[in-house]
Symmetry: C2
DNA sequence: CGTCCGAATTGGTCCTACCAAATTGGTAGG
DNA sequence: CCTACCAATTTGGTAGGACCAATTCGGACG
């Protein structure tokens, strides 16, 4: 029951049939142990193998190409790119959308990036926030209060607060990256807040941060964000101790 | 003569016919002043308008969907998403690939993000670098020395050095983001180093940074990176003073 | 042994045909 | 007059066939 990803409409968690083909191609690549530079089977071959039309294959490959996982060379073939050299952040988002969980290392790296970006970002938010930014933050806080009172899962409110802070930096590049982070950790966040006892503390910390941002105390806001994020990090490390080697729900 | 983007093969700057269609659709959206939530013409209509097959339209839309610019709702239509809420970093990379330059604000934001990520990243690199990381950094330095001696454009060597440092953080999420940054600023970097006098100083700073990273002096390395990036920032601000309101080559 | 030519392969594109679901519009019933 | 229902249209999703141009590779020829 965790996710509910698509933007405009509801459209809950059920997997997309179309992107399912992307997942199957990725699984095929993994199974065949194909690595950087190697060629995939031709489109016609893939179409036959997966029992779909060539159009569907071409669309799936186009998706893989835009996240820089493969390269199409006309009249030659489809080639795997060096994932650790070219892979984009959206390649991870795509995987998460497909239900492939991030592994331990990736989650740790994601947490580290959150600390870097959100702490610095909160500082910028404290310097630059405008009235409409504060309004969005307040709206997120209000929704959070309501969710805590109703005992609902706090995940969506948590995400919206952090995204509102990222927006208050007035840096759209930073906002885009943080946005992707929240798409990457949707399910994990849901599980984190499945324990309803975490929500009230998170809400308290959010309120304190919002006050510092509103007051323009950038340094204090950044410090509060750093402390706030340590809760998540502690949870994750505890989870690793309990079940090492496990995969983390995306 | 600036770019040369695709990974494996050479394939110089000539524009892709296929992604050209993506550019035309984006131009159409811009021209029509379509905004978040609005519906695009149907696939059949777009195909007729642009005088291409429906397949081509579908592939282009698939690309726009993976960078979260549009959403396809089966049996309903194609809808624009809120770009400042959902747009991914790759959406910017896509635009740059298409030859649409970033505007002033976006470049400033990109520079700010570089400062945040690369300064923090260089610190991490100083703490975590392994032998293979240092080898890649050394290789980049060697190529840089050679380029300076030969008087070639330093852009590619500059990018490779920074990417090598980002890789030395051992944080693949950070690496992915920094990687996208360098795809975003390819042309701008080329113009920056068109003045051959900038290369020697950049190379000197790179060497100093590499030494600090090798020595494990994370704080010093981070400080050097901060100073190094200020050259770029100064250049950019100077450029803005000279021709305000202009567009920056992607 | 080297060179050249042609057949097979491959991505790029267009087109036609269907399907299922959503929308829409008109009509019949209350 | 309003509501409820049904049918035609529209829309994205998909399969499959056909052709093009460029690459590739192997065999024939000099």
């Amino acid at each position: 029951m965790p996710p509910a990803h698509t933007a405009i409409a509801g459209r809950i968690g059920r997997e997309d049939e179309r992107s399912d083909l992307v997942a199957r191609i990725l699984a095929f690549v993994a199974e065949r142990r194909l690595t950087s530079g190697e060629r995939l089977p031709s489109e016609r071959e893939l179409a036959e193998r997966f029992e779909v039309g060539r159009n569907a294959i071409r669309e799936a490959i186009a998706v893989l190409e835009t996240v820089r996982l493969v390269e199409r060379r006309p009249n030659s073939g489809i080639y795997l790119r060096a994932v650790d050299r070219d892979g984009s952040l959206d390649a991870l988002v795509l995987r998460a959308d497909l239900g492939v969980p991030l592994d331990e290392a990736e989650v740790s790296e994601l947490i580290e990036m959150r600390r870097i970006l959100e702490v610095q970002g909160t500082e910028l938010a404290g310097l630059r926030r405008r009235d409409d930014d504060l309004a969005r933050i307040d709206a997120a806080l209000g929704a959070g209060r309501q969710a805590v009172a109703a005992g609902e899962n706090f995940a969506a409110c948590d995400a919206e607060f952090h995204l509102a802070v990222a927006a208050a930096t007035r840096n759209s590049v930073l906002r885009r990256v943080v946005n992707s982070f929240y798409l990457l950790s949707r399910t994990r966040r849901w599980h984190y807040f499945a324990d309803g006892r975490r929500a009230p503390e998170a809400q308290r910390q959010h309120e304190a941060m919002a006050a510092a941002i509103r007051a323009g105390d950038a340094a204090a806001a950044a410090g509060l964000m750093r402390a706030h994020l340590q809760s998540t990090e502690a949870y994750w490390h505890e989870l690793l101790q309990r079940q090492p080697g496990g995969k983390a729900a995306s």
